[in-house]
Amino acid sequence: MTDVGAHAATSLHFKDNTKAALADANLQNALKFVEVNFIARRREVADKLPEFEALRDSARDIKDHTLAHLDLYLEAYERRVVEQGGQVHYAVTGKDAQRIILDICRKLGARTVTKGKSMVAEEIGLNDFLAAHGITPIETDLGEYIIQLRHEMPSHIIAPAVHLTKAQIEDDFRRVHTHLPRDRNLVEPTSLLAEARAVLREKFLAADVGITGANFLVAETGSSVVVTNEGNGDLTQTLPKAHIVLASLEKLVPTLEDLSQLLRVLARSATGQEMSVYTTLSNGPRRPGDPDGPDEYHVVLLDNGRSSMLAGTFRDMLRCIRCGACMNHCPIYHAVGGHAYGWVYPGPMGAVLTPSLIGIDKAGHLPNASTFCGRCEEVCPVRIPLPRMMRAWREREFEQHLSPATVRTGLGVWSFFAKRPRLYGFATAIAARLLGLAGHARGRFSWLPLASGWTRHRDFPTPQGGTFQAQWKRRELSSSKAAQPPRLGPPP
């Protein structure tokens, strides 16, 4: 089980988190953009590529193949990195990774560290750890920079500050960039970006160490691959004395051809771009004759429970390439945003991954925060069966007696009837009839016993006609009468 560092998970308080999120006007304003922009952009760019669905199959198969041979691909990858002058460090836990990175920084006498966006760094709480040990970490992705100023976690895995409005960001910049004139104009996003660019340019040039994540690791060539739109990942790794890549084990792919397949689905699924602006393959430290680039190149490979996930129900989750499409299409995420999930990974992928990493006892609400509408699985570029795995977590939660008493009692009553189909049909028919009679005049209920959780927010419609099962039975009967007898044998 992972050490969550200073970023303590609040997943246990999901229900309170959602209430706060629904009441937060700024958040609700910011979230409007997610639903509109991400979905339309992905749709448009996917429609332009006839092979997109076939590429999703290909991406899934590549990740499955790699996971099934992960030990061997890891060894092959490591050999290539070492041959090209890099060093590979293995971290069993988040704490181990923190320590390894701190040691590298200390050996170099590093004071400031620039960082490319890395969800794994968030997972291990790297910034707080480095700061506590006298090293100043500077996030350089614009979204990450903004949330670092606010001491927040990302609310989205590719758009960390998607929960904020530009007015909030302006306030933060005025609060922190006190060396700049007070009367400067920061109303437009362009002026906010220009200010961040200028402030961070100085930091890039002054940093001693650059830390990036990796979208992929290529076993064939020992490459770490970083995909960005801003170019911050490149300045982070090119300018300082050392480049540290922090990556989890499952980022591996076998070859450059496999990488090409995954790149074709990543940007399209994530931001709706044909291709992100910068895709960078890094293969070690500065070579003889190189006029720029880092003198040292380190890869910190983090396990943090993933090697155990390979064994069971949740192995498919390790295919995830962190595009964020699942949360972009999730009605729950649209309503409450990412922070409500209470830890680093929000949305459907977080609802499956977070219990694996911090325990179902701490994150049991997350797999329950789903309508099972299935849109996440429909858009997942590596076809992870997210609803099925959320259901698997619900089952485990129930088996471990972690679900609340009211839920267990309710499920008990329901299962009593469900196991007795005749009684179930009889009881639901009576209930539907009674409700139909009682609500006949108004057509709806504004209050119902045992259903106040529903009726507090909206009316409950009065049932009309028979139960679903009764109606279905009638329909089957009438259609079988009307149907032609099936034709036997091949057509003439």
Binding site: L72, V92, N229, S276, L281
Partner: protein, 225 residues
């Protein structure tokens, strides 16, 4: 047990393998050596002229701009015209790239030429791309003294020269060319694939160009495909 051994042992226990199984090793070795292609989109599979047209369209869709030069000797005039057109100082920096070094820069009077890596003070840099991908309008640049990586990211304006004949249909073609140039499994320190100028949409998802890297990306296609 070292952390490395522990992680490998846990992976193998989870997968139910020992790591010494011949067929598994063979499958991995075969894939690494054979690097089979997956699904390659039909979009880029075009005759040379149409492929170059697609490349230009995709670059422009990614907010880059494209100019043409009939031969390397025309590059200085093209670069100077671009800089003047954007009201930029007539100064560029480039590396030791053979093509760029052979360009008769003096033909563009008043164009100041600096050489080598950038320290962040340059407004414009010129690089020579290893190749390009028509499918997405992507440039492929490799690091080294010829084309220092800092030139790709620090200047405000990045001008990239690419030979028309180096514009490939798809990523797989360029990957094969990299293998051919540097050897199987060996890579230059950095390979930069660049599609348009730097941008961010982190503030209310408003797309703005020029986040940390170049605000403008101008490509000069040299020669005929």
């Amino acid at each position: 047990m070292t952390p490395r051994e522990l992680i490998l042992a846990t992976i193998r226990r989870s997968l139910g393998v020992t790591g010494t199984e011949g067929p598994r090793q063979l499958e991995v070795a075969t894939r690494l050596a054979g690097h089979p292609k997956g699904v390659v989109p039909a979009r880029g599979q075009l005759p040379a002229a149409a492929r170059l047209d697609l490349f230009v369209r995709m670059v422009e869709a990614a907010a880059g701009t494209v100019g043409r030069a009939a031969e390397p000797a025309d590059i200085p005039a093209t670069v100077a015209a671009f800089l003047r057109g954007h009201n930029l100082p007539l100064a560029i920096r480039h590396g030791d790239d053979p093509l760029l070094s052979a360009v008769p820069w003096a033909r563009a009077a008043a164009l100041e030429i600096r050489r080598g890596a950038s320290d962040g003070s340059d407004l414009a840099a010129v690089s020579h791309a290893f190749g390009a991908v028509a499918e997405t309008g992507t440039l492929v640049l490799v690091s080294g003294a010829d084309n220092p990586t800092t030139l790709n990211f620090l200047p405000d304006v990045h001008i990239v020269v690419v030979n028309a004949s180096d514009v490939a249909s798809d990523f797989e073609t360029v990957m094969a060319l990299l293998r051919g140039r540097f050897g199987a499994g060996v890579m230059p320190r950095t390979v930069n694939m660049i599609t348009g100028p730097s941008r961010s949409a982190d503030i209310e998802q408003t797309l703005i160009l020029g986040a940390h890297g170049p605000r403008k990306l101008h490509i000069i296609v040299v020669g005929e495909p």
